[in-house]
Symmetry: C2
Subunit: 276 residues, 2 copies
Amino acid sequence: MHRFDDALTLTSLGDGRYRGRTSPAYANMVGPFGGITNALMLHAVMRHPQRQGEPVALTVNFAAAIADGEFDIVAKPVRTSRSTQHWTIELKQGEDVQTTATAMFALRRVGEGWSGSEASAEVLPGPEGAAPPEALAASPTQGLPAWVRSYDIRAIEGGFERLLAGAAEEQSLTRLWLRNEPPRPLDFESLAAMADGFYPRVFLRLGRRVPAGTVSITTYFHADGATLRAQPAGSHLYGVARGMEFRDGYFDQAAELRTAEGRLLARSTQVVYFKG
Amino acid sequence: MHRFDDALTLTSLGDGRYRGRTSPAYANMVGPFGGITNALMLHAVMRHPQRQGEPVALTVNFAAAIADGEFDIVAKPVRTSRSTQHWTIELKQGEDVQTTATAMFALRRVGEGWSGSEASAEVLPGPEGAAPPEALAASPTQGLPAWVRSYDIRAIEGGFERLLAGAAEEQSLTRLWLRNEPPRPLDFESLAAMADGFYPRVFLRLGRRVPAGTVSITTYFHADGATLRAQPAGSHLYGVARGMEFRDGYFDQAAELRTAEGRLLARSTQVVYFKG
């Protein structure tokens, strides 16, 4: 079994309650990699027997650190219409709520109606002009949390090597290629995990690692499951992230995940606590 | 009493449950203006006796249309630490959940630590170079939903007059000045309402109004209460919004609210259903 699927393993306790266990392969500095928690909250809905459709929006709030060991996730469909479904999700350890989430699922009318994208290159740069992954060095992993070794990351700019170099940067842009390590087919859960695959932007601006942690992340999915399944398992996605406003101990950062051809798959925004 | 405070009036039923009533002054095409619902979900936390700190992040999911009349909001503090507090919030009519939300509050360390903003002009343009509100025409209100008349809106570009002109635009950028009508001091609730004060971007791209509605909106607050209270009650905020990816019946749009001097107060992102 792939280490990602192992980390996502949930045992049904009935009535939308699932039991899981933290995975050493996705450990972060403190507690699990936020991306694996993002994926777990989504996965509890994906495998729920009442689930209808595919994810459009997911917000996950990191209320407290998840301790190593077992946890329960409770997923509840609070409202279902003909084409949409709204969920609330909680991750608990004992009586403590460590993570809350909401999700919106929909039966997408794929290929129907008007479509277009807008000025995306002005928001965050796309993959155009980037060297391909095979022409770039693999990310360093030494001295970095375990989860980094569960991805193959090839930085175009602003990767972990910049972080380890310890120089303060004028801007916090990271552009990279990434895929699961070992390769694994793409699905909504792995996309949700990768949406948090960018370290806190304040590290790049300050040129050092400071206490920091995501407090809330929102991910919008811009692709249907068939589009994800059509991606070759060994292929890298293009990822880009940038910090925005840093003030009073919090900042926000935006990220996008695209295919090598530039097709947007997911866009996320998160707010991060920092002390620096 | 100001119409906004009237619309926010909640009667405590005890144990974090509040009863409210929809307000004709903030009616939209179908049901209430999303901004007033955004503000109400936040207000239930703001006035909760266990509330600690000020809002940092708020996600509101529009699960079903709110019918005219009474509703109950239940706000629950699910996790409180020394400096942060996480909430879940539900709006119900009878047994039906119409709206879900999560919020993160914090005791901000105002003015402490490193601060900065990054390349914001590349994300969405700021107020620099815009004509002041008094030099611009008031927004049309004829043929538009009631909530528009509860604001004084002065479009710099892409306002309601473009929508009413019915021409498809190359891009969906709106820049405007807005304040409550009549004037009212700024607080987190009015900021939350204004964060949704931009009509669906797809209207601008298609040059016509089509069935559309926000399904989820996330707002990050980048100012503390004292900064909001320092804004003169009669002053306009600068607002800017743009659509991003339109596909398969959904699109996302980003918005910012700033002071006339360009100080960022809130940033929001939302995903919107449309049929067009």
